[in-house]
Amino acid sequence: MIRVQRDDFDPAAETNALIGDDHSIGGVVTFTGLVRDLADVGGDGQERINGMTLEHYPGMTEKMLARIEAEALDRWPLNASLIIHRYGDLEPGDRIVFVATASAHRQAAFEANMFLVDWLKTKAPFWKREDAETGAHWVEARSSDDEAAARWTETPSKAAE
């Protein structure tokens, strides 16, 4: 299941709804991405940020999220999965993104969750503009995110256990 929304969400309620009464689930992994009050700038520098605006490409966003989720469901034996991504104006501490994966065994839930987060970062058409002390600026893509996503182009480990 995927959702793109301006509003905040309740990770507990979302997770409970995801599990439902499926007692064949043995492990649930969640990732929650939050707005930090410090942004990495050139080199090892950091600067304080007051907030962030997330822009996205309506239509393509949903299409990409649905495709990424379908890929995860195809590659790992998941009982359920959920991606929620917010857009709009956010403050430090606010939730940006939530990814939950449920499986009979933990390895599939962990791997699929990391896969989804890595792919979100490199494929989902969102752009962050940080409102920093030195002014607002668009966040630059990080090569480390590309590298993290690239590891999933290999065949995943057999996550049946």
Binding site: G33, L54, E55, H56, Y57, G59, M60, K63, H85, I96, V97, V117, L120, K121, T122, K123, A124, P125, F126, W127, K128, R129, W138, V139, E140, A141, R142, D145
Partner: protein
């Protein structure tokens, strides 16, 4: 005459001065690269936004695309910086 919709996001929207425009490129524009070359002639802002294509990603009809990919009348083209969600 061909008609396409072009969307700009993030700093490309700022530099071009528009988030969305309907364009009528000449018939010889058959690829994304050709379209971008033509767009650069439309305003100084367009030229500035598209000066360094290593900083720009592309989508045609909501699918990632490359400069050599074809474009045709009715397509929805999007030009944006590398994504930074998640």
């Amino acid at each position: 005459m061909s008609e396409m919709k072009v969307l700009y996001f993030a700093w490309l929207r700022k530099k071009t001065g528009t988030g969305q425009e309907t364009i009528h490129p000449p018939a010889e524009v058959a690829t994304l690269g050709g379209l971008i070359d033509w767009l650069k002639t439309q305003s100084p802002g367009h030229a500035d936004a598209l000066a360094d294509l290593s900083m720009v990603s592309f989508a045609v009809n909501q699918e990632y695309a490359e400069v050599e990919d074809p474009v045709k009348s009715g397509d929805e083209i999007a030009l944006f910086p590398p994504v930074t969600g998640g």
